[in-house]
Amino acid sequence: MNFDFSDDQKFLKSEARKFLEGRCPTSKVRAVLDDPARSYDADLWSEVAAQGWLGTTIPEAFNGLGLGHLELCVIAEELGRALAPIPFASTVYFLTEALLMAGSDAQKQVWLPRIAAGEAIGCFAAVERPGPLTEAQVQATVIGGKLSGTKLPVTDGGIADVAVVLAKEGGRPGLFLVDLRSGGVTREPLSTLDPTRDAARLIFAGAAAERLGEPAEGMALAEALLERAAVLLAFEQVGGADRALEMAKEYALSRYAFGRPIGSYQAIKHKLADMYVKNELARSNAYYGAWALETGASELPLAAASARVSACEAYWHAAKENLQTHGGIGFTWQMDCHLFYRRAQQLGLVAGGAKAWKERLVTQLERRNAA
């Protein structure tokens, strides 16, 4: 039985933590939050590229590190913990995964080395309307290699170089690669719950679009992409949830009320114990997702849904109860509590919300029960 990360992977994790503690304290996150002109930390992005993290799963032939998804998971956890205000998930969990899964050699050759070098930011443009992603919501259309339609919200759409777009071609959804620097693309920034992450409305009017993967398999590819991203995002969520619990604990030990540390009251102790339990369950579910992702196991759809549901629940709970533990000061702009509260929502919605993932989970269970 070996259901844990290896010593090398744990070393990578501790190195990532040290690096991010030095380069990404919450003051850096706030710098993005407080400056409407900035929607990510470009310096941190370059430094992360220099660490090689952007190429973690990119094969060495494309100038990546050629490591596995387990290595990517430990980095993801640390990025989540640090609230890193960079387009890592969009570029690595969505664009890179899409290319690795469905990209042609030529497409890989064009984009993967640039991604690894930190020269190409990606995004995933699928949703157009409120409600979970379904085929019915896809109105964007590709005709003769030209894409028209509007996608929103697109995380990192305002800063991305290239988008993976879900659009219909001949009435059936397909995945397409669109160079956002080319003509026919208009971007409008969107105000979101988490201004430490970029988001935009992308308006396509005859933009050049290259198909990614086979025609008409867009929904299946998008689902597979979301499953892979769900596992990686779960690690960011677990990282954030653990940090939120730590903050709550530190505050509960140092804040006195009625002559005692508030952490000596059961109302607070039990709250924090519940946070711990949810975080541990989420961590274990995320580990299983990591295993399924790394090994390509047939359990991935169920494991990814479990990781997603558990992580969404844990982070939301940890973020809101950390703020509650802080009392009035936790509701102020100056305290970091709201950064976690915002990010918990952002991560909890970006690959589809927990409600929809619960439905996917039960559908998977039904299939398994019927087998």
């Binding site: 070996n2 711990y276 541990e280 369950l281 479990s306 989970l361 269970l365």
Partner: protein
Amino acid sequence: MDFNDTPEEAAYRAKARAWLAANAPKSGASQDPLADEDPNGLAAAKAWQAKKAAAGYACITWPKEWGGPGGANWQAQIFTQEEANYATPGNPFQIGLGMCVPTIMTCGNEPDKQRFVGPALRGEEIWCQLFSEPSGGSDVAASRTRAVRPPDGSGDWIINGQKVWTSGAHYSDFGILICRTDPDVPKHKGLTMFWVDMHDPAIDVRPIHQMSGASGFNEVYFTDLRVKDSQRVGAVGDGWRVSLVTLMNERNAIGGGASYHRQVMDLASSVATLAGSGIKDAALREKVADWYVQAEGLRLTRLRTQTALSRGQTPGPEASIGKLVTAPLMQDVANTAVELEDQFGVINDPSVAPLSALFQATLMSAPGMRIAGGTDEIMRNIIAERVLGLPQDVRVDKDVAFKDIPTGR
């Protein structure tokens, strides 16, 4: 990260599997530790324990000097997993082998170790733990059962008082008993531990009729029970420390259970609601997903614990969450399932109710799961204090002589 055994683990598993295939009973009694223990079940359990002991599969980690196999934690884990594939008899030894006898091994005197460890390991003698009292469940250190030395110079102790919630006292041969020996000092300092012979006529065991209808627990009354000083476990006044040795093992000894999400889904598929088949009910589907990630998270957390053991490491604190997750989960699952049956849900006759009234029975035993072996609230305190390092609760009785502590009514 993989779920495969190492060659060493695989070899042990193969050996254990082969032995179980040749020796394990094909059918057996309930494994619910809170359920009734019928005499036939007890005999079967004793026979199975003896068989395991003879083959080196009982108390696998116990040291060889006490007759244990001297095996590793990972071997015990593997055997437990494999044994779970068989309908082995219920386990009336759990408390004795998990808590009481390890306490004797750690804190008892030499002759007691020689006398008790072997027979317990072979299932010949069953032990119970006499800690909780009517006035002290979560607050074990508030025990009032008195042990006093008569002025006859014998050095013996005379014990009077009452214990409660004692699992298996009615079929136990011995018990470890925490007593108040000095009421003039603060409560933690005036306690002493003894072992007692449960067959002594001065001990009166009265089964408690639980709300589930079963009787797994007992009230135990002591009326002028005379014990030798040699039955003392640890020093006079050191009983609290000794009890902590016992309780440290308790969390591990009381494990989690199944999640029943599969059974709920089957039930839901067979029930027609106003909106169609019960399994299409959106609220139920959300709940099933919530239960699944909890049960699955717990199963996987155990695999993390097993990995630590497999690597020769001490498991992390994640092992402490099991009962706190499982017990409320079971209660919620049962309530939802009964509700799904609507008016029919009130029927608990196994010959009439769906799934042989599994959910009605679970509904009525779940409150006990949330209390036995540490209430949900105590488990949260344990996590908060021992895992997260938060301060202990304020204890207004800490520096007060036991006899002066307010007791309410």
